[in-house]
């Protein structure tokens, strides 16, 4: 009997990325690489003040400058472009209206005040410099804690104070828990503002064709369909007349999960002027006018029993909203509350958030978005508590994990963790680190004036965003799979990858299911005129939700193809198999045809199989029944020089569990990048402002982005605990590294400094802060 063809398995293989050839040769197209004939260039005049009254704008000199085509102020746009959209609000939130250009008051440094359009890049920026704005500086609201006090100067005159919203998530009995605890530890913890810094700044090209009444917008975004819906609304067009294309996108990290002023503005102007218009953000604009992340200051109390059982956590936190919300500003803080119990069986939890307006750009989703804040608070407190109890920090964590038999694990915050084995990742991480040895080395070192620190963090995060019911809608993702008449396969995804590599992983998923070579599968994304309506890429959802949609659409196509093959072979459709580029009868493999032959049949067969339409194209919108919950354990060894405050990371060990893995090479890349980003926040990164609300480090010369020398070679391992939330069993990996790393690194530094009586230093743990914290003991 003939043998069934061998099926190579693509899922799980470290396949090289399909998008790389264009990227490594400089042949890819990011927004600024879209060069349409006769393009006009847009430059924006931004407020240099955190808070200022605008007494007048004189555009006369700019209007006469060479090459200038148009100049706009708020007055020119009045009633013509709708405000910047917001979503994910909580009840009773004050929602200030974010205009496109500020009219009588500028509320953060970087807020757009006027816009100039000229026939060249340099001409537009020259003319912008000629616009004279008469500002009258006002008291800026910069410090988060002071902003929340009664009597503070106000960001918005129309409100009584700077309190934007209040939101609380409490379960169990926190007061009782703290009263009955054997030990209560308290700490004020700051999670500073950081800038996402996608390496490609934002940018928009818009082109309107009046004859067709068709607007095309190329924008560097993570959410093309959201941009289409909202911008169409803002400029008064039907959304089916607007096409949004995300060409290559040079990183997002949440910062491009937003609808920004410049998108509607550029689109509006191209429709007015009839020529393509391009706006490219400079890096300094990116620091000023693209969202920041984090921005929380809180008081934490943790109650424990003598044996180490953590019973209670209370987190009373001020959240820095900035002056205006962006799309998900408010929602981010609620994720902190949902994840406050972390990977522990804590029964009494209370997250009490007060959102506060400040004269700054909004905070919003930044890699991890609300979860790193929860993990950081919790993991810092676990170390502080362990020290208080005289317990090993690893032991304290172990004591509080749910056992793997307890999954799905219901948490006090109301979530159901899908699957997990927290002991396993911690045990492996400690083993890989040689934890006992590290501790011995630390002991030894101290005798010789060498300060080593071992830092641990165990985390669980919430990914695969998410069930629509829990997200206020649009938690699903879409995919369409088409087998072309020639036998190639095209996947159209509603997800919008921008570096994650789904052009490859989705091809792997489809190639496996249809038994075709991975090279035969093409993945299309980021064009609203060709892909089904999509939600986008964020919240580690690309694979867990978008990939799941691909699986189901693929299976629908496969089932349909099986019907054509069944007709040809006079076999049952259920007996048709796919492998090695062949479609064959499973029980009689000699009955076999090329995949392409059956594909062609689906477009040409007369008659058709019973109850079957022609064509091979199926769509699926995948609605996940739950979030996914990746988890892991990170161990860091640092050496700190208390004289200089310099921290050197000697080893970085991570064991992460993101469920099933489609492509281990790409998973490793995601973890690497996440760890570098989280470590950046731990040690270096923070936005700084002067008293007038002007950022003082708004350039890459002054903002410390991690460099190639920050981290040693990372020692990674994955364990695999699949999820049953989606058919791939994959949980998502985009944010895990960021979430696990920040507390592990800070914990290591504090551990190194314990001989100096240091219990906590706020991030970023810069040399100067270390030097100050150890000053007394050194003297």
């Amino acid at each position: 009997m003939a043998k069934a063809p061998e099926a190579p398995k693509f899922i799980g293989s470290p396949i090289k990325r399909r998008d790389d050839p264009r990227l490594i040769q400089g042949l890819a197209h990011y927004v600024d690489d879209i060069q349409l004939p006769d393009t006009l260039h847009l430059a924006i005049v931004r407020s240099p003040y955190g808070s200022a009254a605008i007494k007048g704008v004189d555009t006369s000199k700019a209007e006469e400058a060479p090459g200038v085509v148009a100049v706009y102020t708020a007055a020119d746009l009045a009633g013509k472009i709708g405000p910047v959209p917001v979503a994910g609000l909580v009840p009773d939130a004050k929602v200030p209206t974010q205009p496109i250009l500020a009219s009588d008051q500028a509320k953060f440094a970087g807020e757009p005040v006027a816009a100039v359009v000229a026939d060249s890049r340099y001409g537009a920026s020259d003319a912008a410099n000629l616009i004279e704005v008469d500002y009258e500086a006002r008291d800026a609201v910069v410090d988060l804690e002071k902003a929340a006090l009664p009597g503070s100067p106000k960001v918005h005159d129309e409100y009584d104070d700077n309190i934007a919203f209040k939101w609380q998530l409490a379960a169990g009995d926190v007061d009782k828990g703290l009263k009955e605890a054997d030990v209560v530890v308290k700490q004020r913890i700051v999670n500073g503002r950081v800038a996402p810094i996608a390496l490609e700044p934002r940018g928009v090209v818009a082109h309107y064709l009046p004859g067709e009444d068709k607007m095309t917008i190329w924008t560097s975004t993570q959410v093309p369909h959201k941009v289409r819906t909202f911008v169409a609304g803002q400029i008064g067009m039907n959304e089916n007349r607007v096409r949004v294309i995300t060409p290559e996108v040079g990183g997002g990290f949440g910062s491009k999960l937003n609808i920004y002023r410049e998108e509607a503005l550029t689109a509006y102007i191209t429709r007015e002027l009839g020529l393509p218009v391009k706006w490219i953000e400079s890096r300094s604009e990116n620091f000023l006018a693209t969202i920041h992340g984090r921005g929380q200051v809180g008081e934490v109390e943790m109650g424990l029993m003598k044996d180490g059982t953590v019973t209670t956590v209370r987190y009373k936190v001020l959240a820095d909203c900035g002056a205006y919300y962006q799309l998900l500003t408010v929602a981010i803080f609620t994720l902190t509350g949902l994840m406050l119990p972390g990977p522990y069986k804590i029964q009494n939890v209370d997250t009490d958030v007060t959102g506060v307006f400040t004269n700054k750009i909004a905070t919003d989703a930044y890699r991890g978005a609300g979860r790193p804040e929860a993990t950081y608070v919790l993991e810092r407190m676990m170390d502080i508590a362990a020290a208080e109890l005289g317990m090993d920090p690893a032991e304290l964590r172990r004591k509080n994990f749910p056992d793997k038999s307890e999954f799905p694990f219901p948490t006090a915050a109301g979530l159901s963790y899908d699957s997990g084995d927290y002991h396993l990742t911690l045990d492996k991480a400690l083993e890989n680190a040689d934890y006992a040895d590290m501790r011995r080395e630390q002991e030894e070192g101290r005798k010789n004036g060498r300060y080593l620190g071992v830092g641990l963090s165990t985390y669980v995060e919430i990914c695969g965003m998410g069930p629509s019911a829990a997200m206020g809608g649009q938690g699903w993702e879409s995919a369409r799979v088409r087998v072309e008449p020639g036998g190639k396969v095209t996947v159209f995804s509603g997800a919008s990858p921008h570096g994650q590599g789904q052009e490859t992983t989705f091809a792997q998923i489809v190639a496996d299911g249809l038994g075709v070579p991975v090279e035969d599968v093409e993945v299309i994304h980021g064009d609203t005129d060709s892909v089904p309506f999509g939600v986008g890429t964020f919240g580690s959802r690309g694979t867990a939700v978008g990939g799941a949609a691909v699986v189901i659409a693929r299976d629908k196509v496969r089932d349909k193809m099986a019907k054509f093959a069944a007709m040809k072979f006079e076999a049952a459709a259920s007996d048709i198999d796919f492998a090695g580029g062949k479609v064959f009868v499973g029980s009689a493999p000699e009955k076999s045809a090329d995949f392409a032959e059956i594909a062609a049949m689906a477009y040409t067969a007369v008659p058709l199989p019973p109850d079957t339409e022609p064509g091979l194209e199926e769509t699926h919108f995948f609605e996940p029944p739950n979030f996914t919950f990746p988890f892991g354990a990170h161990v860091v060894l640092v050496e700190v020089d208390p004289e200089t405050g310099v921290v050197k990371i000697l080893r970085y060990i991570a064991v992460d569990d993101v469920g099933n893995i489609i492509n281990p090479l790409l998973v490793e890349g995601q973890i690497h990048g996440g760890i570098a980003q989280g470590t950046g926040q731990a040690l270096e990164e923070e936005m700084l402002y002067d008293s007038g609300g002007q950022p003082i480090n708004a350039s890459l010369m002054h903002y410390a982005l991690p460099k190639s020398t920050l981290l040693p070679r990372m020692e990674l391992e994955s364990t695999v605990t699949p999820t049953d939330v989606n058919p791939l069993g994959a949980k998502g990996v985009g944010e895990a590294g960021t979430i696990g790393s920040t507390p592990a690194v800070v914990n290591a530094v504090i551990d190194a400094l314990s001989p100096f009586g240091v219990r906590h230093i706020d991030m970023p743990v810069r040399p100067e802060r270390i030097w100050r914290a150890t000053a007394e003991k050194r003297a």
Binding site: Q35, L199, G251, G673
Partner: protein
Amino acid sequence: MEISLSINGGVRSFDVEPRTLLVHLLRDEAGLTGTHIACETTTCGACTVLMDGQAVKSCTVLAVQADGAEVTTIEGLAENGKLHPLQEQFWEKHGLQCGFCTPGMILTAAQLLERNSDPSEEEIRHGIEGNLCRCTGYEHIVDAIQAAAADMKK
């Protein structure tokens, strides 16, 4: 001002404003958009090109300074359709994610390997310190450069 320079082997002439930056000449006049801009302050290295064999950050070189020079951009690195070993290894080792830093990173690495054909990991990390990548955490980039160094010795 009239300038002429060799770009990826072909001599071309341009009439530029004296203040035109080399990166804008390459991108907007020569149409070579593989050279990226990510900081404008000589910090990120995304705009790195080779000028007379030296890696320079083209956001802080005036086009007129390149008059008469030989410039190589990422588009000119592959020879006769064959990828440079660095390009091959960035692909092989997953040395890029969003790809925005990649052209500059590869050209910096090309100079690094020119000067030191067998760099240690530490030398590589120091060698690319002037190039920022937000996506990869640098480790796969280091791997790629090491592997390319080995390939180039073969």
